[in-house]
């Protein structure tokens, strides 16, 4: 079946099986492999992209059902690695990623969340990301990253902020 989907601003036509999942269209047909598959029960959110501006799990959307829509993946977010989108920049600053596998979906879910709720509380961030699983970070720094991206100070939200200086080595700071 013919589909016309605009991905990261680039319109494209393709001929696909009806059963082709949007996530596989992005990964295998377009070669945009940032979006990952982490489960098979629509639980983990690693496949999250924006579809017409709203966060969706691309493993549970058929490419044919996305015909005529605009899709944004993490590859379409930042101008370059040197000019990260504010949400991506906040993830870096707060160390909100470790192995990186959940990250594209997490970042896109965060972008979607902030579209709908530009200044969420910590609780709203946690509930807003309940569809995105991460095994590495324990979510602590992901939540900080989203709060920072929303223009709020994550330390203010975190009533018992950890010491910022590591004992044992010289004190110092870095960017």
């Amino acid at each position: 079946m013919k589909v016309h989907i605009t991905v990261n601003g680039v319109p494209a036509d393709a001929d696909v099986e009806p059963r082709l999942l949007l996530v596989h269209y992005l990964r295998d047909v377009l070669g945009l492999t940032a979006t990952n598959v982490g489960c098979d029960t629509t639980s983990c959110g690693a496949c999250t992209v924006l579809l017409d501006g709203e966060s969706v799990k691309s493993c549970t959307v058929l490419a044919v059902a996305a015909d005529g829509t605009e899709v944004t993946t993490m590859e379409g977010l930042s101008a370059s690695p040197e000019e990260l989108h504010p949400v991506a920049a906040a993830f870096r600053q707060e160390h909100g990623l470790q192995c990186g596998f959940c990250t594209p979906g997490m970042v896109m879910a965060a972008v979607g969340l902030l579209h709908e709720n530009p200044r969420p509380t910590e609780r709203e961030v946690r509930e807003g990301l309940e569809g995105n699983l991460c095994r590495c970070t324990g979510y602590h720094n992901i939540v900080r990253a989203v709060l920072r991206a929303s223009g709020q100070d994550p330390d203010a939200a975190d009533e018992a902020a950890p010491d910022l200086v590591a004992p044992g080595f010289s004190t110092g700071s870095s960017a």
Binding site: R19, V37, D40, T60, L62, V64, A65
Partner: protein, 271 residues
């Protein structure tokens, strides 16, 4: 992870969809938001030969006042219900329940009609519809029929909807200022309810206490004859047949039904 092969068609109108169902209803499934159907298809528990995609029909996407009811198009997304100002004013139970379905990504796709048609006794919206005394509107080759939600469900994943019928609309009462509450008990926020209770205007709907969503009729009758919340709630698990699984034994679910009913009735009363 990969569905079996199927054909796919996106009819341009409700009438076209109904006509298709008339021809192919036995081996076709309707695709709205896809978040009940596609997970089943990916695990190959459902293998329809044809998918009829109604997810983009704007004809089915609306929330509007219609006399003393609110008419909601079956294709209305959960996220729309969640944020509808009309519903917040006129039927606040519904957006509150919609808000608990899955996660934000799921709610951007899932639809009210899809959820009711899927008829999962562990889902939130079917029990809410029951508590609201909602009406389900079906359209088929034989015309339109309106089914009270209390007559709609027949068993796990089954309803009176025929294979050649399309669920096109859900009609809920304007409950306005009547007390309401939704108590959903889960382990994780994103889980299906172990048990949940929807209360509105003296009616009580139960999630996951049997093969269909149920009304706690004994509780309702007790309330109607002036029993206290505690007394009425203690009857909430009467005539139920809860499942037993890792999340709960039958006995535990019965206890939760009574507990959550008491809490929901208290919240509703205090509004």
């Amino acid at each position: 992870m990969i569905p079996a092969e199927f054909d796919y068609v996106r009819p341009e109108s409700v009438d076209a969809a109904v006509a298709l169902l008339g021809e192919r209803g036995d081996d076709a499934s309707v695709l709205a938001g896809g978040h009940s159907l596609l997970p089943l298809m990916k695990l190959r528990f459902a293998v329809p030969e044809l998918l009829i995609d109604i997810g983009r029909l704007e004809e089915l996407q609306y929330v509007r006042l219609d006399g003393d009811e609110i008419a909601i198009g079956a294709g209305t997304r959960h996220s729309t219900l969640e944020t509808s100002e009309l519903l917040h004013t006129e039927c606040p139970l519904l957006p509150a329940v919609a808000r608990t379905v899955g996660d934000p990504q799921v709610r951007h796709r899932g639809t009210l009609g899809g959820s009711l048609a899927h008829a999962d006794p562990a889902s939130d919206l079917p029990a809410a519809a029951l508590a609201l005394d909602a009406t389900v509107v079906l359209l088929g080759p034989r015309g339109e029929r309106r089914v009270p939600s209390t007559d709609f469900y027949t068993g796990v994943f089954s309803s009176v909807k025929e294979p050649d019928e399309l669920l096109v609309e859900v009609r809920v009462p304007r409950t306005g200022a009547a007390g309401w509450a939704y108590e959903k008990f889960t382990r994780r926020a994103n889980d299906w309810a172990i048990v949940a209770v929807a209360v509105v205007d003296g009616r009580v709907g139960l999630v996951n206490m049997g093969p269909t969503p149920l009304r706690a009729s004994a509780t309702e009758a007790a309330l109607a004859r002036g029993a206290s919340i505690a007394e009425a709630a203690a009857l909430a698990d009467q005539d139920t047949d809860p499942p037993a699984d890792l999340a709960g034994t039958k006995e535990y679910r019965r206890h939760l039904a009574r507990l959550l009913t008491r809490r929901a009735l208290t919240t509703a009363h205090d509004r």
